[in-house]
Symmetry: C2
Subunit: 383 residues, 2 copies
């Protein structure tokens, strides 16, 4: 399963000693072709890590032969030495695989502001290259975990081809991506030019709509690789659908494993004038700490939902807003609706529905509650 489900890919995950815990921390995904199409999207944070700066250049020509990923260090805010280290990592991977460094995407995740222990990392690359396998996807998915408690993998089957994927990231999820590394693979035969559009459409509707804590990482990267090894041609539309399905599954898994979360919250905005309005409102609610604390406390505090909606520029009349929480319409026409004590928030999944009564568009944003465990995980340890 995972990134090695599609034909033409090998992967590996090994322990290089970057993590004090001794858990696996270096992963390698190799595209054996015959095609070597690649596309990627990156964090929109202007303070970007060295591997992001490097990998933007790699994918510019549409060819990617391999992706090397490490946990245990983000290589962000590490200056010229950090970039040199990323370059050296790509050179090393290229040498071991007989490829060009310019076709090697590099991803890193972990603490910001510290240099990577390069000798260990390069030895880890050697070990990963030596253990590359057709069924190495799960090992790779495990090696990219940081505070994740489970590895995230997904795959979908189509007629003669497939799409597989892996992801890590369990906290700093935010629009325009997250502390999130994702590799998606396919063995479909596709136009190289189509890959970038396919990936952007898929991430816009999935990863860009999960927002665990509103914080945006310096390292987020989502890579899509196409090997063509199935020999079966897929239309851009069919590929987009399959890639979106894998991305949606991975995004849902990320929310389900967010740092310290007790609830996964789906915020659906309907009857918006525009999709952009729906997204703005959804994100405003997703980032409202008071609302997120209320959900943690199993309190259907719809007033906090309205207060968040009111901070946006979306089209709506405050006296027309309806809010339902887990199916109970606790706010009707901007005022008190059904009895809030009817709302059951004891389950993990919470559904908030806001009706703007302003149009026909809708969108759903996923987030998490704000809990003691979140504060603990992000205050007791550096990350």
């Amino acid at each position: 399963m995972s990134v090695t489900r599609p034909a033409g890919f090998r992967a590996a995950g090994v322990t290089a000693g970057l993590k004090a815990s001794g858990a696996p921390d270096v992963a390698l995904v190799v595209n054996d072709g015959p095609d070597h199409h690649g596309a990627a999207v990156f964090t929109s944070n202007r303070v970007e890590a060295a591997p992001v700066t490097w990998s933007r250049q790699v994918v510019a020509d549409g060819r990617v032969d391999a992706v090397v990923l490490n946990s245990g260090g983000a290589n962000a805010c590490t200056g010229a030495q950090g970039f040199a280290d990323t370059h050296r990592t790509a050179e090393h991977v290229a040498e071991v695989l007989g490829a060009s460094a310019g076709d090697v995407v590099v991803c890193s995740t972990g603490l910001i502001g510290e240099l990577l222990p390069m000798e260990r990392l390069l030895a880890g690359v050697d070990a990963a290259a030596a253990s590359l396998a057709d069924d190495g996807g799960p090992a790779a998915a495990t090696a990219i975990m940081t505070t994740d408690t489970v590895s995230k993998q997904a795959q979908v089957e189509r007629d003669g081809w497939s799409v597989g994927g892996m992801a890590k990231g369990a906290g700093m999820l935010a629009p325009a991506l997250a502390t999130m590394l994702v590799v998606v693979t396919t063995d479909a035969v596709v136009e190289a030019d189509a890959l970038d559009d396919v990936l952007r459409a898929a991430t816009a509707a999935t990863f860009d709509r999960i927002d665990s804590d509103g914080c945006q990482s310096t390292n987020d990267t989502v890579v899509l690789l196409a090997s063509g090894a199935s020999g079966v041609t897929a239309s851009a539309g069919d590929l987009a659908e399959a890639v979106s399905e894998v991305c949606a599954s991975l995004a849902r898994q990320l929310i389900a494993d967010a740092e310290g979360a007790h609830h996964d919250i789906a915020i659906k905005i309907r009857s918006a004038a525009t999709e952009a309005d729906a997204l703005e409102v959804g994100r405003a609610i997703a980032r409202n700490n008071l609302f997120k604390c209320a959900v943690f406390g199993n309190d259907p505090n719809w007033g906090r939902v309205l207060a968040a909606v009111g901070t946006t520029r979306a089209a709506f009349d405050p006296h027309q807003l309806d809010v339902s929480i887990n199916g109970v319409q606790v706010c009707r026409a901007g005022g008190v609706g059904e009895d809030r004590s009817l709302v059951d928030l004891t389950g993990r999944e919470v559904h908030v529905l806001v009706d703007l009564h302003a149009g026909a568009e809708s969108a759903t944003v996923w987030t998490n509650d704000l809990t003691h465990d979140y504060v603990h995980e992000n205050s007791a340890y550096s990350s």
Copy 2:
């Protein structure tokens, strides 16, 4: 002291039974003139409480005779009945005082989405009117407290005139105001037309630059009243300075008493291209949950500061950013600076200095850390 320090004002605070705790919950501030100039600024939240809608109309003509304030209920998201209740409250105050309802500002704070117990509130107004006193400021300041642990009062003396103020609000502080009610009084003789500008300038530089948890309330109101009772004329510039001083003191008191906070954090942005850039960057850091958790954990995690700066549109080069925390330059030129272990975060006050190296403007935003106590206060109880 407080709002009754300037001549021409009486105030009172009484227990009307709106709060289950039995603490004081209705306050009245009366301007006995000879002038009755008034101005106010309100929340920019589009979901505004009934008293905000009412009071906007009251101050439109520049005359305010009295301010009635209640804790124990926000009267927000309460529909037509809520507005009628606010209207009735103003009518009742006017009747008792022999004034016009159209000159009575109404302020409410407490839980959203519930109607006020009007009979108790109106009886409270009667009791407050009966106990109006020249030294009633402290009682009024106490009666507007919600989760505040101490009352907030301030005053400054000038040559023959003074400015006094009181505030409540200990959580939802945010730019464009907060769950915050503020009344500021002066006995200076001033042009009625100047009052609005004076107040807007003062709040823009004080209350608008405190942001405890990024959440914006439905009820925020800051009222400035001028009685002219000192007989001493003040220029708009002198009054603006004095009002700003009182507002700055009250704002600092609000941050010091924010819900569950363990640290008060001053984020100074310097060498910005514009003041707007400095404010945008300061607010982005102030709203970054990961940074706020790190401060709670006494962790000088400058990487989280940079990651927050990177989300803004301000002018800067990521490789030029410097960050100092409590005087230690932990980040230099976008990379590792002085040893972070030199930073002492055990005190209540934390000073973060970010140098954008992009111009000559600067601004300071105050916020709080994100703590277990914040989560507890906002999840265990409705508010």
